[in-house]
């Protein structure tokens, strides 16, 4: 049958056709390679003519992501054409040609960074760029793909350029922002699973809100909550809407709290300042002593515990040799002296501590320094700062009389109650969704975040805080079961929550809520066994402990030990520790139980103690016993000890390894238990089916010479 209606009889690709096709493809590859070689020649020969430009055109058509060629092209354009252009018109023609060239290619590859970049170069170089035309152009691309972030990014860039042009006409800028804001809703209505659109909306909203009255802001915020709530309920699995909800609610920025300042030695003078999070010291805290009502700086050095002495939550001041102090020593920490590692938190006001040196009682708790004056107008006379204590901007650091509290990311109020009301409203909405979708991870995560925000508004010892903590822990446990891929993240969060709950006896609200400080009466023992902890979130909390039981958790690192200046016994049996670290500043450590962990190499044990001997703070005579039973390093499959190496001298630390029988070990534990009221230290559970092999390693700083 002949072909009809212009249609051909079907035929499979014949071997000849296949061959022709392959040949054609080979030719294409060859062409590309030849072009590349030509370009190389051009670059080397400094040719800047039309032929050179054509080569880049051909190459970029084939491979627009080859950014070097774009650079070459710009050089050719600039040196070969633009620099010789007699007038603006000629130049503009060249740029317009470039824009069209890019546009054509963008259609094939709308997500190529270099093409968008080339476009910017053209427009910025043109004498009269047509930004309005660009806006229409990028609108088209966003119609093709509403989620192309290149498009959104470029759109914002154009708007910035237009705003720059209109910087004198504020109403024009605002009108444009409003129009862009409306554009986002068009896109969101088409498909709300669009990060770029929501994000752009949040930035525009911030801009528009600047000129709004409180009522207008509240109205617009309500409207946004309504919009995003509709998206969330329509598809709770969609992350973009949840993130917008979180942005709307905003996070209460936590301030840094100073948990306390304590003297730990008078000769030489050593003072510890503990923060509730890791901070960086920007200026050394001011230490001075008073002589005849005149404050004289006391020389010395501030160091954080740990190997990186520029960061830490526990800071130690050591008096310089030969420095002399009087009956009172004062420490002043200005708010700009520290900055938090975690974004957003800062020290709200200056703090001053005073030490009476006449009564040299070194009991840890009574070693506490009196907290003198906080952020009030204080006559102070040190060489660095004279006069009232002022903040970095020169204002008096007094607390505002009527502080403004955040309600949402766009609104604030004089009363904390508004924030609480908002959070409670959102919590109940999300809670309803959790009931409808018990196995959807997003509502649970957001509920947990909202509850944490609510907890920031109440006292840490309140019943409500306790209820919130318990619920949040439950939520994390639920998340671990429904979203096992992110199990570790949820476990870390759960660890933080459990840690907060279990350390309530250590911490209390400071007079300046919501800051916190050490409780007046510090416990010396803490049992955190079998809590499922993966790490110690805030080790500075544990500064005053003597014994700490962390048996049967999932802890992977011993770094936290560096802040436990007073700890004598630590039980870390049945954890996931692979090597030891952080011993440097555990000067009081006497007994460390590490049975049934993951330590596989002897070096990993020793490394933790290498610099231990340097610790001038070691107050125990430098002797520590480490139980290492049931670690890979000490047992093999047959239960034989394989640890045969005996280290006489490791760095500056002497080591003694003892093989200890089971009976001896049990006896020792019984002794410890008797000694310790809580009986917390020591692994009392002897596994009946598995042979427990106990190995004691003793490190002795005194052995080093």
């Amino acid at each position: 049958m002949e072909s009809r209606h212009g249609r051909k009889k079907e035929q499979a690709e014949s071997p000849e056709a296949l061959k022709t096709r392959e040949e054609k493809e080979t030719v294409l590859v060859r062409e590309y390679l030849a072009l590349k070689d030509t370009l190389k020649e051009i670059v080397e020969s400094n040719k800047r003519d039309n032929d050179a430009l054509k080569v880049t055109t051909a190459l970029l058509r084939k491979s627009p992501d080859y950014y070097t060629i774009w650079n070459v092209r710009r050089t050719i354009l600039k040196e070969g054409f633009l620099d010789n252009a007699s007038d603006d018109e000629t130049a503009n023609k060249i740029y317009t040609g470039e824009l069209e060239f890019v546009q054509e290619n963008l259609k094939l590859n709308p997500k190529s960074y270099w093409m968008w970049n080339h476009r910017r170069w053209c427009l910025e170089s043109m004498s009269q760029p047509r930004w309005d035309k660009e806006l229409a152009m990028v609108g088209k691309f966003l119609e093709m793909d509403a989620r192309n972030f290149h498009g959104w990014d470029y759109r914002r860039y154009i708007i910035r350029q237009l705003d720059l042009k209109d910087k004198e006409a504020k109403d024009k800028v605002l009108e444009r922002a409003q129009s862009e804001f409306d554009f986002t809703i068009t896109k969101i209505h088409q498909n709300f699973s669009n990060y770029s659109a929501w994000h752009n909306r949040s930035t525009l909203l911030g801009k528009l809100a600047e000129d709004m009255s409180t009522e207008e802001r509240e109205a617009i915020v309500d409207n946004e909550f309504d919009l995003v709530k509709n998206a969330i309920y329509t598809d709770p699995e969609d992350q973009s809407a949840w993130l917008y909800e979180l942005w709307l609610i905003g996070r209460e920025e936590r301030s840094i709290s100073i948990l306390g300042a304590h003297v730990i030695s008078f000769h030489p003078l050593e003072i510890v300042v503990a923060f509730d999070e890791t901070v960086k010291m920007r200026n050394p805290f001011t230490v001075s002593t008073r002589v005849d009502h005149v404050a004289i700086p006391l020389e010395g050095e501030w160091k954080a515990t740990g190997s990186d002495s520029a960061l830490g939550s526990v800071w130690i001041f050591q008096q310089a040799p030969g420095a002399v102090y009087g009956p009172t020593v004062e420490i002043v920490i200005f708010s700009d002296d520290v900055c938090a590692v975690r974004a957003g938190s800062k020290l709200p006001a200056a703090v001053c501590y005073e030490l009476e040196t006449l009564n040299q009682n070194l009991d840890e708790i009574s070693g506490r320094l009196g907290r003198l004056v906080i952020g009030q107008n204080l006559m102070y006379d040190v060489t660095k700062r004279i006069g009232p204590v002022t903040g970095p901007d020169g204002t008096l650091e007094t607390q505002a009389v009527h502080p403004k509290h955040r309600v949402t990311s766009l609104t604030e109020s004089g009363s904390l109650d508004d924030r609480i009301a908002l959070l409670e409203r959102e919590i109940s909405a999300v809670r309803e969704l959790v009931e409808l979708e018990p196995d959807c991870k997003w509502p649970i995560q957001i509920l947990s975040t909202l509850l944490s925000e609510l907890r920031k508004t109440v006292s840490i010892h309140s019943t409500q805080a306790k209820v919130i903590d318990d619920e949040c822990i439950e939520l994390q446990e639920k998340l671990i079961t429904i979203d096992p891929l992110r199990q570790e993240r949820y476990e870390d969060r759960r660890t933080q929550l459990v840690f907060d709950r279990e350390t309530l006896s250590i911490i209390q609200d400071s007079k300046r809520f919501p800051e916190i400080e050490y409780s007046a009466k510090q416990p010396t023992n803490l049992d955190l066994s079998m809590r499922g902890l993966t790490h110690i979130p805030i080790s500075s909390y544990l500064l005053h402990l003597h014994t700490l039981n962390l048996d049967s958790n999932s802890i992977t690192s011993t770094r936290f030990l560096r802040n436990l200046l007073n700890v004598r016994r630590v039980n870390l049996s049945n954890n996931l520790i692979e090597h030891l670290e952080g011993m440097q500043h555990a000067p009081s450590l006497e007994f460390l139980t590490l049975e049934n962990n993951m330590i596989a190499k002897w070096e990993d044990v020793v490394a933790g103690f290498v610099f231990w001997g340097e610790g001038k703070l070691a107050r125990t005579g430098g002797h520590v016993k480490v139980l290492l039973g049931n670690n890979p390093v000490v047992v093999n499959e047959g239960g034989e000890y394989v640890l045969e190496k005996r280290w006489e001298d490791v760095g500056k630390v002497g080591v003694e390894i003892q093989w200890q029988s089971e009976e001896l070990r049990l006896a020792e534990e019984a002794l410890l238990a008797a000694e310790d009221e809580t009986g917390a230290v020591g692994n009392m559970v002897v596994d009946g089916t598995r042979r427990v092999s106990a190995t004691v390693v003793e490190f002795d700083a005194g052995l080093a010479h």
Partner: protein, 719 residues
């Protein structure tokens, strides 16, 4: 054209009689499988019961149906009585051009009682002539230079008035108004702009038919528009409400509470995957779908029920859970394939275009086509119970191994056999309405459902009769190429079990909720002139689009929903081309130094804000995405359209349900090699017909592939 009526060959693998939708697919499949195919139709158009007509052809068709007797006479048993059987399929056919007062001016009525009375006993021809003269005399003063169409209009009206059996309503018989003449004149002038569907339907974007059109390559012949929305009538509030029928709609909807949104989305998420979650619905398998939805998913709220109904109703009011879930799934799978809609509407009349596309494929593969080919009788070998041949009007005997035909092409004897086996009668009441504006505001292409028992069919009477079946309404706009841009067609139809009620009774209650019918006080009120003026949008921004203000309605809805072809799903090339076009335009504009505004300077009232896109030609994909769904869910403040033309008819769709009902034992069964195609059903989609065609093909050609892809057209590029 006697030449074309004689055939070189008279023996075929298969002969098909009637170009109804199902046969055309079978014909294409057979020809594609290498069979020799002869396809005949007595009509001069494609599509049979799914045909599509312009104004003139529709009126011609109606006159033909009305004037043909459906009463059987003493024909021999083997005789084909096509015209009679077609006429029998259509009952209570009535049409009317309404009297519409334009621009507030009073309409002039020409009384015909006297002239009709005077010529009561004259011949029909004379009577018509007299009436025509009477009307012309009265009308000439305002129409002294009558157009061809004006004369034709007067002649037609005179004919209808003089011969009531031709199907004009009683009210028309005694008088004719100026506006009626003008209206008919206008319709006749635009006759080619109309494509009236006798059996309007839609395609699911991912249903069996669309998939077949794509896999076979036949879809390349066709262009489509997306159905924009689905509305449902709520009896309690007496309101027609737009339903949120996609995720984006649900997100935007104000009618649903947050919790309802979640419940609904949850149900829809389940429905997509229902086959893998049998535990949820197995207990409800044979229970009504609505019961399952309410008890298993707690979708008890009225709004939610309506949404699920809007999504899942496929024509069957008594759908079981299994059927309902299947239908919801097809709907959901269809959503988003081409845009925010699950339905495709072919352009230029639905059924006829599809039928022609399949016929074209059949012809490409050698199928022979002859329309307007009258047939005389069937020859059957009674002993072997084999159909042997069909004899046409020229006396040629056409032989084939297989004969596939619709019921109208059966011999008298065969028809009686089917009739005897059909215990339950089944009809579809139809109405075609032409209006002057959209019944749904900015939404121009949409469907509406009036659930069973929601309408009172006999207002003011007792006992109250309610609609036993869902009434479906499909509104088409100029964009579908089935009517001019300033007109809208409403197709209204419902299933019906008997002829006790006529089509008008079955459907009128629903129509009254959507349009103003002149002279019907129970229909919507006619819009006040001020209301109309206020709603008429400002002249379109671009000059080429602007037209003089329409006399009877608002400015044309135009092409804001672009046409599309089936391969646009993944074909970005076209989108790129359109971008290129749009850009060209931008550059041209910029050459004139006209800055391109980022927003239209004078937005039409209530128009969805569509920044940027309004500046240039709309892009296919975008415009799909921006289907009005998101912003115009509300039906408030819609101005009632006026019915200009209405046509009612009740189409027979009966088919035997039981294999051997009592009483048919003595009848000779149909020949083994004869396949009778079922009448077009009343459902919204073509799926049943598509499945039937596939089944017929598989029976005739076991093991052969059903419509495999057609090879690409001449393609020498290599790649």
């Amino acid at each position: 054209m006697a030449d074309t009526d004689s055939l070189d060959a008279t023996v075929f693998d298969a002969i098909l009689l009637g170009t109804g939708f199902t046969q055309t697919i079978v014909a294409a499949a057979l020809a594609r499988a290498g069979k020799t195919v002869l396809h005949l139709d007595e009509n001069d158009y494609y599509g049979g019961a799914s045909g599509a007509f312009g104004v003139r052809d529709l009126l011609k068709w109606a006159t033909r149906i009305a004037s043909t007797s459906s009463v059987g006479h003493d024909a021999s048993a083997d005789k084909i009585e096509f015209e009679r059987l077609v006429a029998r399929s259509y009952n209570n056919l009535e049409f009317q051009f309404h009297r519409v007062e334009t621009g507030g001016a009073a309409d002039t009525v020409i009384d015909l009682t006297t002239v009709l009375q005077t010529h009561k006993d004259a011949s029909a021809k004379d009577r018509i002539k007299a009436v025509e003269n009477h009307i012309t005399a009265a009308y000439t003063p305002i129409n002294n230079n009558p157009s061809k169409e004006s004369k034709e209009a007067i002649s037609s009206l005179a004919t209808w008035a003089s011969t009531p059996e031709l199907g004009a309503t009683a009210s028309q018989l005694t008088s004719v108004s100026f506006s009626q003449i003008q209206l008919l004149e206008e319709f006749l002038k635009n006759t080619r702009k109309y494509n009236f569907d006798l059996s309007p339907k839609l395609l699911y974007s991912r249903g069996p038919l669309t998939n077949l059109l794509i896999s076979s390559g036949i879809g390349k012949y066709l262009e489509f528009k997306l159905l924009e929305r689905t509305a449902v009538y709520e009896a309690l509030t007496d309101k027609v409400e737009m339903m949120p029928t996609s995720k984006e709609d649900v997100f935007v909807s104000k009618a649903l509470s947050l919790k309802e949104k979640r419940l609904l989305m949850k149900f829809l998420q389940f429905a997509v995957d229902y086959e893998n979650q049998t535990e949820v619905w197995k207990d409800y398998k044979h229970a009504p779908f609505t019961q399952f939805v309410q008890s298993a998913y707690g979708l008890t709220d009225k709004v939610l029920t309506a949404v699920v109904y809007a999504i899942g109703f496929d024509g069957n009011d008594y759908a079981t859970t299994t059927e309902g879930l299947k239908s919801v799934k097809v709907y959901l799978q269809s959503l988003g394939r081409y845009g925010n809609s699950a339905y495709l509407c072919p352009l230029y009349g639905v059924g006829s275009e599809l039928a022609q596309a399949f016929c074209r494929v059949s012809a490409v593969y050698g199928g022979i086509y002859m329309l307007q080919h009258a047939l005389d009788k069937h020859n059957v070998d009674k002993e072997a119970n084999k159909w042997q041949s069909v004899v046409d009007h020229t006396g040629q005997t056409l032989k084939a191994n297989q004969i596939i035909c619709s019921r109208e092409y059966l011999s008298k004897e065969m028809d009686e056999y089917i009739e005897a086996r059909t215990l339950n009668k089944n009809y579809v009441s139809h109405c075609i309405i032409v209006t002057d504006r959209s019944a749904f505001g900015e939404t121009t292409l949409c469907k509406t459902l009036f659930p069973m028992d929601s309408l009172v069919l006999n207002p003011g009477e007792t006992p109250v009769r309610k609609n036993n079946h869902t009434v479906s309404v499909l509104q088409m706009c100029g964009g579908t190429m089935s009517c001019p841009n300033d007109r809208y067609i409403l197709y209204v139809w419902a299933e019906s079990e008997d002829l006790k009620t006529d089509a008008e009774e079955d459907l009128k209650a629903a129509i009254r909720k959507l349009v103003h019918i002149p002279g019907d006080p129970l229909s919507l009120k006619a819009p006040a002139p001020t209301q109309v003026a206020a709603a008429t949008p400002a002249a379109p921004a671009s000059a080429e689009e602007s037209k003089p203000a329409q006399q009877l309605g608002e400015a044309p809805a135009g092409e804001d929903q672009p046409r599309m072809s089936l391969d646009q799903e993944l074909d970005m090339e076209q989108v790129r081309q359109e971008i290129l076009q749009a850009e060209k335009k931008l550059f041209e504009e910029s050459d004139n130094n006209t800055p391109v505004p980022s927003r239209p300077s004078t937005p039409a009232p209530g128009a969805p804000s569509s920044t940027g896109s309004s500046t240039a030609t709309p892009l296919s994909r975008t415009a799909f995405q921006k289907s009005k769904s998101a912003t115009s869910l509300s039906m408030d403040s819609i101005i009632a359209p006026i019915a200009l033309f209405t046509m009612f008819y009740k189409r027979a769709a009966s088919w035997p349900r039981v294999p051997y009902p009592i009483g048919s034992e003595n009848l000779k069964p149909l020949p083994d090699n004869l396949t009778v195609v079922r009448p077009m059903n009343h459902s919204l989609d073509f799926e049943a017909a598509t499945e039937e065609a596939r089944a017929i093909f598989e029976k005739l050609c076991p093991g052969e592939e059903f419509l495999p892809p057609t090879p690409e057209p001449e393609d020498n590029s290599g790649f």
